[in-house]
Symmetry: C2
Subunit: 335 residues, 2 copies
Amino acid sequence: MIIKIVIFSQSITFGVFELQNLVERVLEGNRRAIAQAISLVENQPDKCAEFIGSIFHATGKAFIVGITGPPGSGKSTLINNLVIEFRKHDKKVGVIAVDPTSPFSGGALLGDRIRMDDVQTDSNVFIRSMGSRGSLGGLSRATMDAVRVLDAAGYDIILIETVGAGQSEVEIVRTAHCCCVLGIPGTGDAVQAIKAGIMEIADIYVVNKADRPGAQEIVNELKLLLSIDPLVKEEGQWKIPVISTSNIDQTGIIELVETILNFYEYLENSVDFAHEREFIRRKNEILEIIKVEFFENILENLVNKQKWEEILNEVILKKRDPYSAAKSIMDPFFR
Amino acid sequence: MIIKIVIFSQSITFGVFELQNLVERVLEGNRRAIAQAISLVENQPDKCAEFIGSIFHATGKAFIVGITGPPGSGKSTLINNLVIEFRKHDKKVGVIAVDPTSPFSGGALLGDRIRMDDVQTDSNVFIRSMGSRGSLGGLSRATMDAVRVLDAAGYDIILIETVGAGQSEVEIVRTAHCCCVLGIPGTGDAVQAIKAGIMEIADIYVVNKADRPGAQEIVNELKLLLSIDPLVKEEGQWKIPVISTSNIDQTGIIELVETILNFYEYLENSVDFAHEREFIRRKNEILEIIKVEFFENILENLVNKQKWEEILNEVILKKRDPYSAAKSIMDPFFR
């Protein structure tokens, strides 16, 4: 039975005709086609370039918002509330969850699976989790492309949920136009986030579960910290706001949505800043594609086989450690 | 208060003298020094090269075993049992957990925190989880270096626990001498693992929770599948065994430990195979260091600023999609 499945899984490929058909249906906003297209960018990296090339002209209209925070900080429930609020602004909303512990991904281990019936049956809302299992290589690349599918399909706001945990998550958040970093009272998240450099990527800081004790203190601490931020110098520059939210009494949800939309306006009006960001974002994306698809090939081409063998043998014989080996391979490029 | 902590966290650095002192104590097997050294490789990538360079001569004695499987497949409990069994063989055992949901990492969300008192108070056992939060950049690099610290400190067997989920986990497992892939009955893990290419990295396949219904079927399916593996051709080549284990009645634990030790012996006797593996492993590691530390610099050096700007502007203006942009940046290197 397994053998059959293996053969089967290899045969789900798209021919030229089907691919063109898929492109058309995605552009029409067909939900089934969107789901298929996201599966394609997730599981068939070889078809991805062609497919993305075909829908690329239709992208660039959505506003992409990253929501990142540690496990248990209430991201999914907050996102659910944000979706409801964005719908009141008549926005079509897409959600891409890249958090393996997210209830969106079926990872409701804590039994706190939230009720998303109200938003999931709304045809103007599309929620999808990126399966981290099976996506060998390029999760942030796949996520960016899934966002692009929703963008091309006409979604206005696309929320990306990531667990603020590691490099790939930070890379994912960097692909967003606006990054909301979540913390909760009493866990030292803020301190952790600062240590991890996660604060550096925040456009909006959210203290979630603000009904808990200590919320006001953390808000004050963050505000103090942000007020001495050496990066904020110029008049008219965006000052990172700290917003308290609670999923229990809906505190701050309206304010957060308004702040996100304010940031959108800020970007629209700050052409240079927005362009610089877009520049960095695109560059990171291209670097990511190169890293996943070409990196090893580049080195194979630039460093000859003999040099590799020489250095590797030195490492294996313990004449050289891997760091100095890496340095010696790289040295010629930095002269 | 936060500000103080920030300053504090920056001031925990190692001077030349302290670093040398740390090296000496690690080589003596001092547990506190080992813990400090792992924190260093995890949080101070800038000191890492120097530190690893200083202990590198003492490494290469440990046998490194990767244990990977999906969340909930019972990896931590199995590892606990393996540690107890390896202790009976009088091996010093280190465990590095890279699974954020692992009970070793304090992530016992399901309330199934296992009792590890018996192994954790044993001075010949060292268990450490790699904090995924805060390790921006190079988790697999940091893991490899943590393993190296334990290796230099005289641990015989080092188990690396990863949740078989994504690329970085696969990269981590690739750094091991022996890779055990776990699956459990009734979840389609085997099929998933095959689809994800995870089977390709297995040296030993473990069907855990073998007390569950359907265990024998999955063992049979896997054996059938492995018997037609086109990679296994030569006489005397390692044939991937499928071992059933259960944490309830300790089924298969002894067999699994023996199989791991058999694989160790197999590698000892298959000089070419072992050398080839070591070659690939070291190369991957060096590539990883280059990827984390030099990658962007290489491209900055090889591709001039004007070319970057040109291409990025084309992408921003939607004249070109990111894939074709990546390709056009790479093209000159493949001529």
